[in-house]
Structures are given as structure tokens and as C-alpha cells.
């Protein structure tokens, strides 16, 4: 008896079954049997790397299966790019249930407000030189210290978040300014050189 364990992505083609058992002695025969049982998987397993009892074979078609083996079809990783190629295509209408995505600070702010958390919003209002985020860029920070969005690509977020927690407690808005003026900074050729002005306010 061979146990095939399906990945979460593969389970979209197996009616949600997480694993299944087969009588098979070799990978090529096993694949034929899997296709016979789960027609939607057809064509998706020949190029996968196959893990047999934890040993990952890249070219697995004729690998023998010891009785009782656990088998996975996984994305292979060679010395190349590391792109995982064997994740099956998702069928249309797959359930979503995904959380809010990064890059939507206002969406997060709204959700946090609905959860009864305090929320401060930091907005880039003015930039000079090569600052990474343009005016209008947003960072939302909640009263537990969680944050979403970006006002500088990470350069000054720490300071802004700290200021935001102060703004949250006092209710007083603040206008912050950050920049790099140090000539030495250029010695390593990596100063971004920009300046940025950020407005931080409590929202309700």
C-alpha cells in the first residue's frame, strides 16, 4: 500500500482529499492510477519532483516504491532559479478566504477601527530628492503596534511608528521630517540622499 499525500494546492483537484492510498510498485504506474482517480490532476505530475519516504527524486518516473511508502509530488528545486514549477494550476472559483493584502493600509485601518483599536495614520506630504515613497504614501499603525503600509521603504518606519503611538495617546497630530545630511554617508555610495516630511494623525 502506497500513501500519497496531496499538497493544499493539489487538494483543489482531489475533492479536498488530503491523502489517498494506492497499490503500486513504481512512480509511473502510481501517476496513471492517480489520474484515473482524479481526472483534474491529469498532466500535472509527470514533471514534479517526487519524494519517496522523504528522499526527493527529480527524475522519478521509474523510481520503485517500497511497500508502505509515503509519496509526495513537490515542486523541484535544482541548482537553478528555484522557481517552483509543479504547483498545479488553480481551478476557477477556488475558495478565497484570504486576509487583507499588504499594500492596503486604509483597509487595515478600517478593520482595526472596527475591532475597537486605536489607529494612527502617517502620510507623506512632501519629498525632496530620491525618497522612496511619493507624497500620499500611507502607513497605518494601531494601538497594539501593528502597522501596514510604508512611508519610506523601511528607512524611517521605526521612528514614525514610535511617534504614531505618541500621537495615539495624546491625540495631538505631528509633522515629522527626516533626511540624510551626513557627508560621510556618501563614502560608501549608498546614501539615498532624500528628505521626506510626514504628517501623523489619529483617526476615528
Amino acid at each position: 500500500m502506497i500513501t500519497v499525500v496531496f499538497s493544499s494546492a493539489q487538494q483543489r483537484f482531489t475533492n479536498g482529499e488530503a491523502q489517498a492510498e494506492f497499490e503500486s510498485k513504481r512512480v509511473d504506474d502510481l501517476i496513471r492510477q492517480i489520474y484515473a482517480r482524479y481526472a483534474d490532476l491529469e498532466g500535472q505530475l509527470e514533471h514534479a519532483a517526487v519524494a519517496v519516504e522523504g528522499v526527493v527524486h527529480n527524475d522519478a518516473l521509474y523510481v520503485r516504491l517500497p511497500p508502505g511508502a509515503e509519496v509526495h509530488f513537490v515542486g523541484a528545486v535544482a541548482g537553478g532559479s528555484g522557481d517552483v514549477t509543479s504547483e498545479p494550476l488553480s481551478p476557477s472559483g477556488a475558495p478565497s478566504g484570504a486576509p487583507l493584502e499588504a499594500g492596503d493600509p486604509l483597509g487595515f485601518a478600517q478593520r482595526w477601527l472596527a475591532q475597537g483599536l486605536g489607529v494612527a495614520l502617517a502620510t507623506v506630504v512632501e519629498t525632496w530628492g530620491s525618497s522612496p515613497c511619493p507624497p500620499g504614501s500611507l502607513l497605518a499603525v494601531n494601538s497594539t503596534g501593528h502597522f501596514e503600509g510604508s512611508v519610506s521603504g523601511g528607512c524611517v518606519e521605526g521612528a514614525v511608528i514610535e511617534k504614531a503611538s505618541e500621537v495615539l495617546s495624546t491625540g495631538e497630530p505631528a509633522l515629522l521630517e527626516f533626511g540624510v545630511a551626513d557627508e560621510d554617508a556618501w563614502a560608501v555610495g549608498l546614501a539615498c540622499g532624500g528628505r521626506v516630511r510626514i504628517f501623523v494623525e489619529r483617526v476615528a
Binding site: S81, G82, E101, G103, G154, G189, L190, C192
Partner: protein, 763 residues
């Protein structure tokens, strides 16, 4: 596969005589005296010089190209564009171990419909001098339709963003955008129950992380010499990680018959994955065919930065939850990786490695591959894993802080071990993560005192290590010495390792074995030098071939003695008669070799393997650093790499891999990044402005080799080359936090950024 079947299991404890010794590498003398011949050192009579002409725009449609003025320049012998190649459509094919898109590979050599990054080559000129070729290139007239460039992940994902590849829809798992998109592929691993898992957590930490595009920074720029001859056969000399790969890629991209192409690997001055793709060779061979002359092409450093394989910049979000007793219960990530101009970032490997070193029952790991108008990424040493570990290992450090736990103890409590399930599915065989953590904890470095403005960081990481195809041929000379031929360019000292393994099996001193790297016509097929696979897989072929040679030598001794083969044993380089024939005594390999012509001619044997993936290697790094609060400059005071090598064949070169990976990772952490102008032009395409660490920037990096035998290899070898670059980004970031109290979630931690953070913290 079947050939490897009997050699893939371990032999238990074995006393080694050659393995574990530290001979000087066979190519060492030539390299330190400057005699070694690298890619640019090859010449042929009548040779001319080829150069690329590159796009001044990051994103522009090519409406027409007029090369007539360039062709009329005296000294110009050939001009080519994409029109000189067969029109191969872009199509991602999942073949063999990884996917491949020959249409994209061809367009990486020469743009066809569009230039997709600043510096994307769209034509090449061959002339009697480099200068003439460059000047003639300026006379090529292109009608461009300049398009808005997509220069950040944010811009690539924005609604209404310009699309790099029309008709490209998102593949893979998870929720996906409708219609054409700059997201090419999504990877998703889920297990357990995420919400239930996080609701069990007493502490949850999360963070957004960003890392910039960085270059491998190999010292030797790409170079090749190509000669297409009158009879249609071709020879190529190339600085490459895999000459068999050059042969097949050149054939597919140019439409030439692969059997007509012979590729000879030159010595190679570093690759780190970036010399797996072909950039020059297809253009050079077509220029040679068109001009009837041998064509040499070499890149400048500027070209290397603008148009060869960096690794991805990233934008990541991750969170992890733990119970008050330290047990990890849930984790979640969204990893967004820049692929550059064509699909193929290492985000899949990032997903497979992030949080995988730990038992976490409930997880959702999402990875997104994004194209944008930057150079196409290539493999870079454990592709994707250092970036993923930068996020995961910092969050674990933060958890340790919140739970008031020693960071190594917290990792030990949750570390995956044999039988544990990787997030991508299968269970691990014997691995040495816990042993490595324990060794790091016991290391004197971990107990040493540190001073003011100083901090200590610790982080862990692993890499899978590849198997793949290899072959080897071993022959015995008439004086009892031996030659080992393989087809893997020697980047990290592999000649010495191959010689050691052959010497061990033959029972002779390693200095009596000469290792050679053969061209595509003189050795059996070998996949690329990459994936930390050569000592493991090619070594396995060497061991197998040498064992066959030993069997031949026993048979020759049996012939000389006129006894049965079964009565001859092989001990320490001697045939020893046993059973009823013990009175015959023994014959040395020299004595048998001298008689080879009498006993059946030369002794030669070959073997080939395609073993499974090589057994993951785990590493734990320790870093002490000091931050100057006045300047933001960081000095690394002490750095220690502890890693499982399975079995160190040549310990000096294993340690060298540890040190090299750490040095590269420290550079990535502290200084390295591409800087772009608003149009997408790289502003720092030279080593003066793209600051990599040099010897004076770093202390001697301390190493400790842990040996937990890999059950898949006859000596227990694990790949070691890639793992050492996985932990450093997070190790340094954790040390920075310890020194400054600031969490750096954006790389690099360069002096201006550090100063800013310190100042904003104190103000």
C-alpha cells in the same frame, strides 16, 4: 538511476585515510602565478571582437532596427539582431528538475519585441577591434516606442500598471488577478488550521521586510570565444558553471544542431549561480557564423551589473505565533519577489525554506513572482532562502525577546528533526539541525563578553542541496597513478575533492591522482556546477567508477597470480591474495599497473548517476558587531559559522565555503544594493559605488564543521556551498538590534540608514 542504487546508502562508520586531509588544490599553483586561463584569456588566429548594443530605455517597444550604417564601418565584419535567430515563442515549460522558457532565454541574449530593462541588449557587432565594434554600435538606428517603466513591486501590482508581457496571466495557486498581469506565478503551501493556530498563541510577532536587488558579484566578468567553422561545426570556450548547459542552450537559441557544438570550460572566477545562464555564447557563435571569423566577447563590469543575473529584490510580510512556553503554533507569509524582466524569481524556494527549520503545525505560505523592468534575475547561492530567512529569523529573534528566552534554546525547542515534515510536504531524513544549534550554543563565541554599542546576533538557515546527473571516468597510468575526469567546472575546489575520493577508493596518496575537467566531447554528461551538488553527485560517480577500477585491478592481479578473482582483496593500494592463495602475498598498484599491457591493456572505468536530492544542510551563525553612534558605521567584530557538512571531504574548502558565504551575506546585509534613477537606469554599476566587503572590512571568520552523515551518500557527504549564505542577513540584523535597540527590516543596513534609525530613536 539504477546505477546509483547500490551506492546510495551509507556504509556506517568507516576509517578514512585520504578523506578529511587538506592537500593543496591541483589548480592552485596556476591560479596564484597567473598562469590559469580564464574566459578572456583564450585567443585564436584571425579572431575578432564582439560587443552588445544595449537599450537606453528600461521599457520600450522596438518598432524597427536599421544596422546599415554600422555595417559600412571599416573593420566591421558582422552585425546581428534578434532577426538572425529563429523566432521562438515565450513559453514556460516545466521540464525535468525546473522550468525553462527558451523564448525568454533567447530574449535575454537579444531583445526581440521589446527592451525590458535599461541595458537590455538588442544588437551585437563584431569588428577587428573592440573600439570599432563599440563605435559602429552607436550608428545602429532604432525606432523606439518608449513605454512607462515598471520599477517597483508596488508599481507592478498597481491597478492599470503597464504590462511587461501582453497575454501573460497569473499561474499557480491562491487568489489571482484577472487577465494580463505582472504577477507570473503564485506558490502556496498550507497546513493545519491557521486561525485556530493563531488563536492558541500567547505571543504573535509580525513584520514587513524589504530587501533590494543585489548582484552575485563574481570577480570575473562573463567571457567567451566562439568559432563557427566552414564545415558547420563549432567550438566555444566559455567561463560557465556548466558547459553541457551552454551546448544545449546555444543549440536551442540559435537553432544549431547540438551535435555540431563542442564547449570547453575555461577556469572560472566565481559564479554563485550567475554563470548558469548564457548571455554571450549564442550571440558570439552567430557573429562567428556570419563573419567567418572566431569571435571573442567579454563583458565590462558595467554590463555585468546592468544585464546579468542579480537576485530578487523583495517585499515580505510574515507573522509567527507561539505559546507562552515557547512552542510555535502558527505562521503566515506573503513573499513578493522581483523576477526582473522575465518569470523565474526564486520565490518558490523562498516559500519552501521560510520557517521550514521549525515544527509549526498551522501555516500558510504564499509566494508571488513579479516581473518588472529590471534585469532578469539568475540563481544566486541558495536562491531565495537568505531573503526568506531575513524575515523569519528576525521574527523568531523577536519572539525570543518577548518570551525572555535564549534565542538558541527557543530554536532548539522547535527545531525540526528526522521524521519532521517540511512545510512543502515530505518528511526529513537524517538532518543535523539540532546538533548544529547545540554546537553553536557550546561555542566559546556564544559565551564571550561584549561591550557598549556592541550586539550579538544568532540566526539559522538551510538549503536542500541538489542531486542531478553526473558522470566520471577514472583511468590508471602505467606507474600506478590515476586520472579522474569529470564534467563539472571547478569553482570551489572540486578537483581536489574528486581526487581525494578516487585516492580513498584506490588506497593511494591524493598526490598520485590528477583530476581533470573535460569538455563536452571528452567526458560523459554532467549537469551544472550548482545546487551544492558536485561533491555529492559527481563525487558519487567518481567513487562508483573508482570501485570498478579497483575490481579491474583485482582481476589483473588474479591473472598475474593465476588464481580466482574471489581470492583477491584490495587493501590500501595493494591486491592481497586470500583464501587458499594467501601464500602469493600482495601486489602493489604500481606492480599491477606496470603489467597492464600483459593482462588486458589499460584499466579504465566510467560511471554515471542521477541521485536524489542531496540531504539538506543546516547552519547556525553567530555575529558580534559594533555600531558607531556618531556615523552609523557597523564593524563586524567576530563571526562564527557552524554548519552540518555530512562528511567534510576537504575540510579547508568546506571552511572556505562557510567563510565565503558569510562574507557575501554580510555584504548583502550591510552595504549592497542596486540604486536606480527614475527611468530605471542603474546608478552604481561598478565596485566603487556598489560596495562589497573586502578583506579589510571583515575579521577572520571562524568555522566549525558538524558531521551528521547523509544516508544518501557512500561517505555521508552533504552539499555545503549554499547554506552559508542563508543565515547572515538575519544574523547581522539580530546583532544590530542587540547593539542599537532598533529592528532593521529593510536592507541594506548602510551607515545613513543606521544613523537615521539611531537618531530617530533617541529624538
Amino acid at each position: 538511476m539504477s546505477a546509483a542504487a547500490d551506492t546510495t546508502r551509507g556504509q556506517g562508520e568507516r576509517k578514512f585515510k585520504q578523506i578529511g586531509s587538506r592537500p593543496i588544490r591541483h589548480d592552485g599553483l596556476d591560479k596564484v602565478t597567473g598562469r590559469a586561463r580564464f574566459g578572456a584569456d583564450y585567443t585564436l588566429p584571425g579572431m575578432i571582437h564582439g560587443v552588445f548594443v544595449r537599450s537606453p530605455y528600461a521599457h520600450a517597444r522596438i518598432l524597427s532596427i536599421d544596422t546599415s550604417a554600422a555595417e559600412k564601418v571599416p573593420g566591421v565584419r558582422a552585425v546581428i539582431t534578434a532577426e538572425d535567430f529563429p523566432d521562438i515563442a515565450m513559453n514556460w515549460i516545466p521540464t525535468g528538475p525546473t522550468g525553462i522558457d527558451f523564448g525568454a532565454n533567447q530574449r535575454t541574449v537579444l531583445a526581440r519585441e521589446k527592451a525590458l530593462y535599461h541595458g537590455h541588449a538588442f544588437a551585437a557587432v563584431a569588428a577587428t577591434s573592440d573600439e570599432i565594434a563599440r563605435e559602429a554600435g552607436k550608428l545602429i538606428k532604432v525606432e523606439w516606442e518608449v513605454l512607462e517603466p515598471v520599477l517597483s513591486i508596488e508599481a507592478a501590482l498597481a491597478p492599470g500598471a503597464p504590462i511587461l508581457h501582453e497575454g501573460q496571466e497569473t499561474q499557480g495557486a491562491g487568489d489571482k488577478p484577472e487577465g494580463d498581469s505582472n504577477i507570473t506565478n503564485q506558490v502556496l503551501f498550507e497546513g493545519g488550521n491557521l486561525d485556530a493556530g493563531f488563536s492558541e498563541a500567547d505571543v504573535i510577532v509580525e513584520g514587513h521586510f524589504e530587501t533590494p536587488m543585489v548582484h552575485q558579484g563574481y570577480i570575473e566578468p562573463h567571457a567567451c570565444l566562439a568559432n563557427c567553422r566552414e564545415d558547420g561545426t563549432s567550438e566555444i570556450w566559455a567561463s560557465t558553471q556548466g558547459h553541457f548547459n551552454v551546448k544545449s542552450e546555444v543549440a536551442l537559441i540559435t537553432g544549431m544542431d547540438p551535435n555540431s557544438i563542442k564547449v570547453t570550460p575555461t577556469e572560472i572566477g566565481g559564479g554563485f549561480g550567475g554563470k548558469i545562464p548564457v548571455y554571450l555564447e549564442p550571440a558570439a557563435i552567430v557573429l562567428s557564423r556570419k563573419s567567418g571569423r572566431p569571435v571573442k566577447m567579454t563583458m565590462t563590469r558595467d554590463e555585468v551589473f546592468r544585464a546579468t543575473g542579480p537576485t530578487s529584490g523583495s517585499r515580505m510580510w510574515a507573522r509567527i505565533g507561539a505559546k507562552a512556553d515557547g512552542t510555535f503554533v502558527a505562521c503566515e507569509t506573503r513573499l513578493e519577489f522581483e523576477a526582473g524582466a522575465f518569470r523565474g524569481s526564486p520565490v518558490g524556494a523562498a516559500c519552501m525554506t521560510v520557517f521550514t527549520p521549525y515544527e509549526i503545525p498551522n501555516f500558510k505560505i504564499l509566494g508571488i513572482d513579479i516581473v518588472l523592468n529590471k534585469p532578469r534575475v539568475a540563481a544566486y547561492r541558495a536562491p531565495g532562502a537568505p531573503i526568506a530567512a531575513f524575515a523569519a529569523e528576525q521574527l523568531i529573534d523577536e519572539l525570543a525577546g518577548k518570551l525572555d528566552r535564549d534565542p538558541i534554546d527557543l530554536r532548539l525547542q522547535n527545531a525540526i528533526e528526522e521524521g519532521g515534515r517540511a512545510k512543502y510536504g515530505p518528511r526529513f531524513e537524517a538532518i543535523g539541525f539540532k546538533q548544529t544549534l547545540q554546537a553553536a550554543k557550546n561555542h566559546p563565541h556564544y559565551k564571550a563578553k561584549i561591550g557598549a554599542n556592541q550586539g550579538r546576533g544568532v540566526a539559522a538557515g538551510f538549503w536542500f542541496n541538489a542531486g542531478m546527473q553526473s558522470s566520471a571516468t577514472v583511468s590508471v597510468n602505467d606507474d600506478g597513478s590515476a586520472v579522474v575526469r569529470t564534467g563539472n567546472p571547478d569553482i570551489g575546489g572540486s578537483r581536489a575533492s574528486m581526487a581525494l575520493m578516487a585516492a580513498e577508493e584506490l588506497g593511494i596518496d591524493v598526490t598520485r591522482v590528477r583530476p581533470l575537467v573535460g569538455d563536452t566531447d571528452s567526458v560523459g554528461y554532467c549537469d551544472v556546477t550548482g545546487g551544492s551538488r558536485v561533491t555529492y553527485a559527481t563525487g558519487m560517480a567518481v567513487i562508483e567508477a573508482t570501485r570498478q577500477v579497483v575490481d579491474h585491478l583485482r582481476a589483473r592481479a588474479a591473472t598475474m597470480w593465476d588464481i580466482e578473482l574471489d581470492s583477491v582483496e584490495w587493501q590500501d593500494g595493494n591486491a592481497v591474495a586470500t583464501n587458499g592463495d594467501a601464500d602469493k602475498g600482495s601486489l602493489s598498484i604500481e606492480e599491477i599497473a606496470r603489467q597492464m599491457r600483459m593482462t588486458g591493456g589499460p584499466v579504465v572505468a566510467s560511471a554515471s548517476v542521477n541521485p536524489p536530492a542531496a540531504g539538506p544542510a543546516f547552519g547556525v551563525h553567530l555575529c558580534d558587531l559594533e555600531v558607531d553612534p556618531e556615523t552609523g558605521v557597523t564593524r563586524i567584530l567576530r563571526y562564527t559559522v557552524v554548519q552540518d557538512a555530512g562528511k567534510a571531504i576537504h575540510p579547508t574548502y568546506v571552511e572556505g565555503q562557510f567563510q565565503g558565504g558569510a562574507a557575501q551575506g554580510i555584504g548583502w546585509a550591510l552595504n549592497e544594493e542596486y540604486l536606480w534613477d527614475a527611468e530605471g537606469k542603474v546608478e552604481n554599476s561598478g565596485f566603487l559605488d556598489y560596495r562589497m566587503p573586502v578583506a579589510s572590512d571583515l575579521p577572520m571568520i571562524d568555522t566549525q564543521i558538524v558531521e551528521v552523515a547523509n544516508p544518501l551518500h557512500p561517505y555521508g557527504v552533504r552539499g555545503v556551498g549554499e547554506t552559508p549564505i542563508v543565515p547572515p542577513l538575519a544574523t547581522v540584523a539580530n546583532a544590530m538590534h542587540a547593539a542599537t535597540g532598533v529592528r532593521f527590516r529593510t536592507l541594506p543596513m548602510s551607515p545613513p540608514r543606521v544613523l537615521d534609525a539611531i537618531e530617530s530613536q533617541s529624538s
